[in-house]
Subunit: 581 residues, 2 copies
Amino acid sequence: MSPKITTELLKHLRQVMKNPRYVQEPVQAYIVPSGDAHQSEYIAPCDCRRAFISGFDGSAGTAIVTEQHAAMWTDGRYFLQAAHQMDSNWTLMKMGLKDTPTQEDWLVSVLPEGSKVGVDPFIIPADQWKRMSKVLRSAGHDLVPVKENLIDTIWTDCPQRPCKPLITLNLSYTGVSWRDKIVALRSKMAERKVMWFVVTALDEVAWLFNLRGSDVEYNPVFFAYAVIGMNTIRLFIDGDRMMDPAVREHLQLDSTLEPEFKIQVMPYGSILSELQAVGAGLSPKEKVWLSDKASYALTEAIPKAYRYLTPYTPICIAKAVKNAAETEGMRRAHIKDAVALCELFNWLEKEVPKGTVTEIVAADKAEEFRSQQKDFVELSFATISSTGPNGAIIHYKPVPETNRTLSVNEIYLLDSGAQYKDGTTDVTRTMHFGTPSAYEKECFTYVLKGHIAVSAAIFPNGTKGHLLDSFARSALWDCGLDYLHGTGHGVGAFLNVHEGPCGISYKTFADEPLEAGMIVSDEPGYYEDGSFGIRIENVVLVIPAETKYNFKNRGSLTFEPLTLVPIQTKMIDVNLLTEKE
Amino acid sequence: MSPKITTELLKHLRQVMKNPRYVQEPVQAYIVPSGDAHQSEYIAPCDCRRAFISGFDGSAGTAIVTEQHAAMWTDGRYFLQAAHQMDSNWTLMKMGLKDTPTQEDWLVSVLPEGSKVGVDPFIIPADQWKRMSKVLRSAGHDLVPVKENLIDTIWTDCPQRPCKPLITLNLSYTGVSWRDKIVALRSKMAERKVMWFVVTALDEVAWLFNLRGSDVEYNPVFFAYAVIGMNTIRLFIDGDRMMDPAVREHLQLDSTLEPEFKIQVMPYGSILSELQAVGAGLSPKEKVWLSDKASYALTEAIPKAYRYLTPYTPICIAKAVKNAAETEGMRRAHIKDAVALCELFNWLEKEVPKGTVTEIVAADKAEEFRSQQKDFVELSFATISSTGPNGAIIHYKPVPETNRTLSVNEIYLLDSGAQYKDGTTDVTRTMHFGTPSAYEKECFTYVLKGHIAVSAAIFPNGTKGHLLDSFARSALWDCGLDYLHGTGHGVGAFLNVHEGPCGISYKTFADEPLEAGMIVSDEPGYYEDGSFGIRIENVVLVIPAETKYNFKNRGSLTFEPLTLVPIQTKMIDVNLLTEKE
């Protein structure tokens, strides 16, 4: 990897930072965050602005360019990669290290008095704007919204925003019609006494309308917003895709409908002006519900007194609790996924000893077997196919420069998943094609004990997932081992492989309680730097548990594995397991 | 219990709320919080203003009196008690129930436009002021500080603020001299670039100067503040107690000392004016460090730009990590405490069958045995002596109206502790003087399994206590049982029996990581309403653990029990225990 040469680009950016065509007043600093206008985890190529300006294309990072400096904040996963990908114009700001200043503090330390700091108000979440703006203001500077994205003005070969055809999902997949979802949403709105709800997250729009897309790789979503009133539905979306007869039929665009279910289709780009019009027309006590992670631009469109902000939207919470149709779909998807991986493992058992299977070959073969399954759509994330020391790099993705050949001497870790029309999968298995060492088996068995401890945990209704995280670590801790990531994340039903509002991690506290029907991953691991990585991951469904005393009718929950992929028994030291395990 | 008649008192209070002698402008509402000026958990009789005005004397509650209404907010522990103790002038606001308004929202709903809401700025913590003030302001009202406490103006027989003699602790108890503590504090101040530190919590003042008092029952503290500069030490304290030659000698008040260790003794009441003088004399970049729980009055004395607020002060954190002398003292205290309780249990075994031992008699006997031990000072909290159904009331304290006789038919729960000059104890044992039922033994054994799981837990350095809470519940959860309180709290060394910044609870997230030398309680329980209560509590010391792989030299921790009181084997169903347990 050679670094991207950014001297000319930065010069150009610094020019537009002063160009009255783009900025009302010159800005002395410009912030380029990672995200898109929907605060997505995975973004489309046209939104990779931070990678364009800096060369650093990891999943997390914020660039700030001033007249003198260019600095990049990223976390421990990416220190090495960022250092390789960026040229000497850039200073790497290692987040999490003691002496690394925050973006705000750094800005205060380098800016001349009374500076303006610009940012695209569509990309920065409102809560982050508030925090930065406060610090800057108290130091005599101003955070200002720059309407036109300055990176876009200098990105001459910027890819177009994707606008691919939509998939309609019928009741056999979704269990609930979009009409009924709107009815349920309006009843939540009535409960909180809000008149409008603004849908900003892409997976929330997709879920609400029982539509899927392919605008973002791995995530079956499409660029759109929606604004739901008590009597109106507005969908903001571009392109020919609304001309598709299947979509028109699905959304009943050409039917005579009660007015409150009539969908008004509007251009994607008109969301701000439409929302401003909503904001201007509010009478006292008419509140508008937004996620507190929505963009500053959309949040500001609603006068402060009328905003109702929550960390999790009612759609996020409803979407997390899968109904019977979705659960059955997830079960079918996991059966198919297990068939594909069994075929892969069989193939690997035969081919690995020949010394011709690389990490990339194995990943491609996994995709090939999966793609033969019914209703396969695409992968659900970039396959982590890693052998030996590469397995210890938690967010590894094989590329030609690092591609290692699988052998009978090293542990192989495969973390992969797919989008099927009936469900999303995400599974990690760790295996050995020769004879694992006693130490490797020992570590594997502790990870397995942690995996089982979470999977078999029984807990009262109302328990938050973060309270289960230590169960996954206990066996490792007893021997002085640990892993530096959370234990589980929410999983969508033919939607994003990572979704809120639940999870199992020592890092979160604001997660919503687990409920029957929620689906999460259970994936403890152990990583020996420079040597091997172990992770055992199932996707598990939260189900009611039967207990002797039933928490005085408060009820209780446990997990049922949806993942059916076998775990390699060769890796287990059975002597370390209890009878129950 | 008959309710306190408050008609005249409220009339009187409403008069002073309009009396220009006490308020600059009339206030339409007056808030009476629970606390004292130091945000203490336990308060002196002169600070029980909320109990005086309302009759309700539970440990938590806030009263608000307007021209028309008088309302009391308290939590589920006290709904019954508050309803009994208050007359019909008062409306009980049940916190935690869905329909109960917050204090701010209620005020907004009942106040006439543009009202003033008064509160004693010394009693309300700055963070709470900020929250309330914001809501009130956005509804057109004002929260205003009322300098003279309005309850004090009508409380004609208000007890005097205690001002009892001090105890000096030498190095054999404290391990570190107050001079060395000041040096360490100043080095923490230099690290954070602050010039002043304001000590507002009573136990922090006591710890810093190696002094103890008895101004507040159960807590060996005394009313004082301190302001530590880089070159000055100011101690704000009243009374003759500074005339005591032992205290003068201990603080070296009459010695020739380097100026930076010379303690200036000032009147307790002069803290505000002195702090305002400090605030007025600050040059740019001179910060003042305060707890974010300090009173609004003291926080406001420092201009906003100069404040450095943290949730835990450096003293709070240093105090929590006990040194060798303190640890040895705690060990001695626990040996003495165990001797006293063994004597008690022996006495109970003989006396209970006679039917003459009530909960109060047993509590008194426990105190009698403890008071015979060397260096006994007082109890560390009100003894919870409860039999049968009273055991299920978690914060029970026997009073003549509820006093129950111990018998061979009921479970007896004793949660008690003492202050010895060398350490603080807190122990709960649950026992049966006849034959416990299979169900009682089953529940007891699950609680014991949880207690052992925490006590034997091994975890990496840097782990926060809240991550261990679920270990205490796992065995109960498996059978559908749980308990609705945290598992452990920090314990002082001859100081408050509850102290921060560490603990073991599902409720906290902002706790500081556990460190070797910290001391916490381990007290899971199970409560069957109307029937019995079970709790098993040890005080445990955080110690380094030895593990096979030692977390790659990150190191690890576990607990060592300091409590040596036997656990009644009769209550254990041994079949439910594992070999290791």
